[in-house]
Structure formats: structure tokens, C-alpha cells
């Protein structure tokens, strides 16, 4: 092989070895989808993702179940009574009624009368329940005192118990609106969509609200957010045809907010608070722009001759950066401001719509990436 041939082959080899086409966005996503469909390894990855998603759904369901558990005594007793009613309805005639007086709600005490032996004080439990009106518990201890009632009065139907004297013990509707601490907690789910400059973000999470006073609540939670932000810089010329025009950051983070909610009127509220941001992952890209002189050959319609027309073609692409701005930093905070509208969805559920703005503080307040964002939250509180 002569030296000319060797040189030529080396030049061709080097040229082809160095030849690359800039990456075109979207190809990885297409490939990933294909890869997951076609290969067992991809299936495993997809299954793993599915399992993780199922875990999140299960966790949400568990939280939902916890939220729906009775948090105060009234509801608990109500449930117990319901069970008793079912039992009573099933075997009223065959068995001796062993209905227990569970509490002081819906209770009347009928004094001894002609229809009942002296010394036996009947207690009628839950007379509002029609199935139980034929069955009362007769307790032999006449001296037993009935604890003072604390709930609503029951108006007994005179026709049903003609021989008994109805005496409502109390007519207390409410005892000053006092709710035990466990009843002042509310839990829920939240999704929100926001814009960082011109990029859309999404977030979802769980939240808890504690009623400090009638109009003031404390709210906290845990939200998984995906935040994207771009930053325009003065162009930096990297080569004769390529310049860097800015950066772009994609952040996956856990946001833990703490807010005070003031609800001056029923249905409308405002909130102010701070949140700590834990960045789980960050991808930073340099935004590049290349300009290439492109030759187009055109035919002159009159002479039929070929004419070369040159034009500058601009192409934008991204190149991943190895450094990150926020990953691993702990002093990342937002100041959160919002107003909202609460809509009662049903007895136990509120639907909340809350426009908000998140203002970067601390380590988030960097000059080169603007993470100020605003949007709307949709919350469901149980």
C-alpha cells in the first residue's frame, strides 16, 4: 500500500470517526418506549415503575382510609349504635334484648308507671330508631342514676308509648362548639400546576391541616414537584458556528410547606407560609445555537441555469451539563402566598381551589436561574 493510499484512508477514517450529528430531542423518549416494549429488561424496568406507582397509590389509599376513620367519640358511638341496631333488627322476638346503653345520646328516662313494676327504671335507648321502639332495657337497679345527657333531645312519639311519661332530660344542641384535638385535624391530597417563566410544572402530594381557632388553621404537607426553569444569558461564542445562549434546569424535588391559613368568611381564605425544598435530582442543560451557511441550488426560470443561493440556518439544541445548581443543597426555601376558595363537596369532603405564588428565598434565590413560579392548586380535604 503506497503512502498516498494510506494517508487517504486515514483521513477518511478520521473524518468518519469524528463525524457526529447533533442529538435531536425526543429520540431517547421514543427509544425508551420501544426498549420497554421489546426487551425483558425494559419490561422489568416498567414493572418496577408500576410497582412504585402502586406503592404511591396504596399509600394515598391508606392515608384516605386513616382520614375517614372516626376521630371523635360521637362518630365512634354512632357506629357502635348502628351495629346494635342491625343486631336488634335481626332477632328481636327470639332473644332477650341485651341492648347496652352506650352513652347519653338520644336517651330518655321514663319514671316508674302503672305499666311497669315498681323499682324498675326503664331506659330507652335511641328511640329515634323505629326498629328499637318495641324493645327497652329494663334494669333492676332503680337507684341507678343516669348521667346527664349532652346531646340533642329526642321527641318521643306519644302514640307509641301512651303509658309512659316522656321527659326530655336536656335540650342541649351543642356545648359551645368545642371539638377535641383529634377532630380538628384534616387530611387531604393536592395537585398543582404552575409556570416558571414560560415553562409548565406539575406537583402532587398529601397535606394535613390543623384547626388552631375557628378562623385560623395551620397547614403542612409533602409535595413531589417537577420544576423546570430556563435562563437566558449573554451568548457565549464557543466555536465559529456555535454559541451558548443560556441554560435550562429540570429539578425533581420534595417540597415541605408550613402555612398559616386565615379564613375570615366561610368559603374564602388566604394563606402565607414557607416551604423547604429537598432536591432529589437535577438535570442541567446548556442551550446551544449553531448557525450554518447552507447552499440551495435553484433553477433560474428564464435561463434554466443553476444558481446557488446561500442562507444561514439556525439550529437550537441542548447539551447536558455535568454540574448542577441545586442538587444536594439544604438551604432552599420558598415564600408561599395564596388565596383560595373552599367548596363543600359533601359532608366530609371539601374541595379547594387556590391560586398561589412561590417566591424563591435562601439558596433558591440565585441570579442565574429564576424559580419564581405561580399557578393554581386543587386540594381535597377529608
Amino acid at each position: 500500500m503506497d503512502s498516498e493510499e494510506r494517508k487517504l484512508i486515514n483521513e477518511i477514517r478520521d473524518g468518519l470517526y469524528d463525524f457526529e450529528i447533533p442529538y435531536e430531542d425526543g429520540n431517547w423518549e421514543k427509544f425508551k418506549k420501544l426498549y420497554e416494549e421489546r426487551t425483558p429488561e425494559g419490561h422489568r424496568t416498567r414493572r418496577k415503575t408500576l410497582i412504585i406507582r402502586l406503592k404511591y397509590i396504596s399509600a394515598a389509599a391508606l392515608i384516605g382510609a386513616l382520614v375517614n376513620m372516626p376521630w371523635n367519640d360521637t362518630e365512634k358511638v354512632g357506629m357502635k349504635q348502628d351495629r346494635i341496631f342491625e343486631q336488634a333488627g335481626a332477632d328481636t322476638k327470639e332473644k332477650e334484648i341485651t341492648l347496652q346503653l352506650l352513652n347519653n345520646r338520644d336517651t330518655l328516662v321514663a319514671p316508674p308507671s302503672a305499666g311497669h313494676p315498681i323499682g324498675l327504671t326503664p331506659k330507652i335507648a335511641s328511640l329515634t330508631e323505629p326498629r328499637l321502639r318495641d324493645h327497652v332495657v329494663i334494669e333492676p337497679n332503680a337507684s341507678e342514676t343516669v348521667p346527664p345527657p349532652i346531646s340533642s333531645t329526642i321527641m318521643e312519639d306519644k302514640a307509641t308509648y301512651p303509658s309512659w311519661q316522656k321527659e326530655p332530660i336536656a335540650t342541649l344542641e351543642s356545648q359551645g362548639g368545642y371539638t377535641p384535638a383529634s377532630g380538628r385535624w384534616k387530611f387531604g391530597l393536592e395537585v398543582n400546576s404552575s409556570l416558571t417563566t414560560n415553562r409548565p410544572n406539575v406537583a402532587a402530594g398529601i397535606l394535613a391541616q390543623f384547626e388552631v381557632a375557628q378562623k385560623i388553621k395551620l397547614s403542612t404537607g409533602l409535595t413531589y414537584s417537577r420544576i423546570s426553569a430556563i435562563h437566558d444569558t449573554d451568548p457565549v461564542q464557543l466555536s465559529y458556528d456555535t454559541k451558548m445562549v443560556g441554560t435550562k434546569s429540570l429539578i425533581k424535588a420534595i417540597d415541605i410547606p408550613l402555612s398559616i391559613v386565615y379564613e375570615p368568611t366561610d368559603g374564602w381564605y388566604a394563606s402565607v407560609g414557607v416551604s423547604a425544598l429537598a432536591v432529589l435530582d437535577e438535570d442541567k442543560f446548556y442551550r446551544m445555537e449553531s448557525e450554518v451557511l447552507q447552499e440551495n441550488v435553484m433553477m433560474d426560470p428564464e435561463s434554466g441555469a443553476s444558481i446557488s443561493v446561500f442562507e444561514v440556518v439556525k439550529n437550537e439544541y441542548s447539551e447536558r451539563s455535568t454540574d448542577t445548581d441545586f442538587e444536594g443543597r439544604s438551604n432552599l426555601r420558598y415564600l408561599n402566598l395564596s388565596i383560595g376558595r373552599k367548596q363543600r363537596f359533601n359532608k366530609n369532603t371539601d374541595l379547594l381551589f387556590e391560586p398561589f405564588i412561590k417566591i424563591p428565598m435562601g439558596g433558591l434565590q440565585r441570579g442565574d436561574v429564576n424559580l419564581l413560579n405561580s399557578g393554581i392548586k386543587v386540594k381535597v380535604l377529608f
Binding site: E5, L16, P22, L34, T39, E41
Partner: protein
Amino acid sequence: MGTDNDLVEVLSKDWQNIGDKLKERIYKHYWGYLMGVALRYVSDRDTAGMVVNDSFMKIFSNLAAFECADMENFNKLLKGWMAKITARTALNELRKHKNGALRESLTDEHDWRFPVVLQDNLHIENVWDLINNLSPNYRKVFTLYEIEGFNHDEIAELMGISASSSRVYLARAKEKLKMLYRTLMV
């Protein structure tokens, strides 16, 4: 570029245990190079993209098959390994469409908007001009032998020709290239 070196360093240290994140980086980093390889054999970008995706599937499914004895040249050897897979995939694709347009030579329809200046006298566009002026079989044999590093027996198997035909095609391709080169450099 620093990014390239970082990636290559990470890959060379832990090639056998590549996670999804690293696969994404590998894909994005070598996509352009493998597109270049695929375009040596197929003429349109869509088909080249398909060939590249099929090649990456083989690459990711057979990571254990790549063994590097010379860590100094890890990137070069890796690129060579990937290029061989891509060349095989491209030739298989051509075989599937034996009577189709894929056998047509590379033409000006390539969109060379990203010229790369070589160290020597040849510009990348000149390289492609040289390659494109070869007949399809000459071009394939030349690139498979001189660029990808296959031997004549392998080329014979890949192209469905005899090994002696492969030798003849290669000799003629080189003669044609020298002639074209002299014309181009005048």
C-alpha cells in the same frame, strides 16, 4: 469537552452496572456518532434512526459482551464496538429491503448542516463526497473493512458474497478513491 470525558470515565469504571440514567446519557452521547455510522449504509435519516435504535437495543442488552483490555483507549474501542453492531444492523436492514431504494447510493439529500472540520486537508463534506461516489458494493466493502474493521470472511457473510469478491471490491474501491481524491484536491 468535559462532559464527554466524565461520561467515558464513569463508563470505563463501571461498564457492567449501567443504570437507566446512564443508559440515557450513553444514548444521547453516542446517538449522533451511530447516526453517522448508519448513514454510511442507508440513505435516509428515518431508516438510519431506526437502525440506531435497534443497535442501541442490542448494545444495552449485551453490555457484558464488551470487554475492554486497553482502558486508555476505552472510548475508541467502545465506539468501534458500537459501530460494528450498527453496521451489522444496517446491513440486515438493507437485506430486508433488498429490492428497495435503500440500496441506492448516498446522494445530496443528506442534510449536512453541521460540518466538522478535519485536521488534515479533507473536509467532512469531501469525505462524504468521496464515499458517495463509490458504487454501493464498493462503498460497503470499503467502510466495513477499513472503517469498521471487519475481515473479508465476515464481510462475505454479512453481504452474501464470496471473500474473494470482497477483496476485489476493496481493491477497486481504493483505486476509485485515489482517483477521486486527486481530482478533488487539484
